[in-house]
Symmetry: C2
Subunit: 341 residues, 2 copies
């Protein structure tokens, strides 16, 4: 095992989320900043609707932080659509240097990590991170047309319709902001799994690898954290994540949560193995986890967003799924690096 952890000195100045109908009816109802019960966000195509969600989310986050385009030195964004058009079109109206990313569902953590690196390295005073997914654009691209009514596998996850945006700035900029203390970038792995209806299982070993590398590099113990939160392993992958870690001598106990498990009511909303998509971890972090860190209900968490980087074509060509997980250590603003207040 190798890989050094990045020491960061940045904070999340603001965050915002925009979601669709199903998300607004789940356990996190009332948490999100903007809900469109039509899922269309005023647009004629699902792809444009996804772009529009990103634009809404970043505008809301800029407003909350009282920042303008000119204050933001870099914008990191990506999504699941071919050629990442959700981000490319959605963020065109912002006059901010743009870095397009593709990290599948790890994009939320990848973009926050890169934004935090640029701010920590004093290359800019503020940087933005934005990502999204849309159930309808994802179904059209990855699976069968929705109208077909195809039967879903029990391990399949439901793509979240949602976009999350974050503004990262200097750690001393304002009180109440959540600090980004450290980041452990993921290493891409071949999961050996080629069932794209079981992405939780494909991604779980990557999350285990990144978490173990982080604990190894820093010497930290999980008891230092209120929660270890994965992005969208869902019920199937989350259970594997817990078991694989236990086999490595790491017991998550009651510290574990997964954004894909939190966002929907599994039984009532018929989502099978839980939520997924780049938007899943982004909106749960923006509107559920960060407020808990701001209110000090959580003092310190590990946030691990996982991605499955196959394409529909690569799966048809018989390739197994490449996966990745990026980790961020987040803390309440008034918790120092040494853990003291």
């Amino acid at each position: 095992m190798r890989g050094e952890c990045f020491e960061l000195d940045a904070c999340i100045l603001s965050s915002a989320s925009a979601v669709g109908k199903k998300e607004s009816e789940g356990p996190l109802r009332g948490c999100f900043d903007y809900v469109d019960p039509t899922d269309r966000f005023g647009k004629k195509t699902w792809e444009s609707a996804e772009s529009e969600m990103q634009r809404f989310a970043l505008n809301l986050a800029l407003g909350k932080a009282s920042l303008h385009d000119r204050d933001v030195g870099a914008l990191f964004a990506g999504d699941l659509l071919n050629q990442c058009v959700g981000s490319a079109y959605g963020l065109l109206s912002f006059n901010i240097p743009y870095f397009g990313l593709y990290g599948a569902c790890s994009t939320c953590a990848e973009s926050l990590l890169l934004a935090s690196l640029l701010v920590s390295g004093k290359f800019c005073r503020a940087a933005a991170a934005v990502t999204s997914s849309h159930y309808c654009s994802a179904e059209r691209q990855y699976r069968t047309p929705i109208e077909y009514g195809g039967q879903r596998s029990p391990t399949a996850q439901w793509t979240v319709t949602g976009a999350g945006a974050f503004l990262v700035g200097e750690a001393t900029a304002r009180s109440g902001a959540v600090r980004v203390m450290r980041g452990m970038p993921g290493i891409a792995h071949n999961s050996g799994i080629s069932d794209s209806s079981n992405m939780g299982a494909a991604m779980a070993p990557s999350a285990v690898d990144t978490l173990l590398r982080f604990l190894n590099a820093t010497g930290e113990d999980l008891s230092a954290y209120d929660k270890v939160v994965t992005g969208d392993l869902g019920f199937e992958g989350g259970s594997l994540f817990r078991d694989l870690l236990y086999a490595e001598g790491v017991d998550l106990g009651d510290r574990y949560a997964d954004c894909g498990q939190l966002i929907y009511d599994r039984e009532r909303q018929d989502v099978h193995a839980g939520g997924s998509g780049c938007g899943c971890s982004a909106v749960v972090l923006a509107s559920y986890l960060l407020p808990k860190l701001q209110s000090r209900e959580y003092k310190k968490i590990l946030f691990l967003a996982t991605g499955a980087m196959m394409s529909p074509d690569s799966v048809k060509q018989g390739e197994s799924i490449p996966t990745i997980a990026h980790l961020l250590e987040l803390s309440s603003a008034d918790i120092g690096k040494d853990g003291g207040v």
Copy 2:
């Protein structure tokens, strides 16, 4: 116009290229590190062939720099394929933290800029940048099947079959390496052009915008540079780039070159408006431009890779093409920031 320029302190330790048959028959024949005259790189699918080119290129670059995976703190990579599978599969065998990018044909400059930022910020001692394109995988995805023999528009460009890899390290690490002095990130623009057979024209205004912002932010004059090299504007876009700059009072004179114009013999190789694809600027930089900087034939150049970030679906939905251009200032190792030797 806004946007601060990133001051960088890094150098390109090594570079390598792998290309196909057509590239090996063009004006730059003999420059490339690895040529496969079958374009297949030992693989059964064009997509796997593209992945394999990336693996070859990074392995060659690691070897030239005498570096191992464990010496490299971050790997930035991307390509044109849906979900960037060229990079995700091609770089799986490397035990290096992976950051997936999507910047279309600007990926070479985007990845080098991010690698240089991480090294300049002292987050790692070395970082890698890799990108590729493959004529056959691109034709299959973006246009008609090759077997169809569809007629090409005069403004169409020919996707380069090639991968380029670069290792970026600390500026003081070794002599003979090319220095990365400054970087100006691109801002995404709506080109207003929806003809995906004329991407040079769509991208030219983005290249103009980034170059003017760079000259404005730094106060530099083009006379300080031996060459201003764009990525893949080709003959159509290159001519527009020159004219648009002239209208802004900037005369490129005989300083201008474009990788898409350099890589093929326009008449003899029947490439219409020149080469394109992420691999175009990557292999020309790796195997033609960097050696000229190493030998001091060029002392200082501006390298501007441009990208057209549409998808086949977005074009069919009537959207115009979003474009971007990232700029790097590169110099011979023994040219200081003040221009002195």
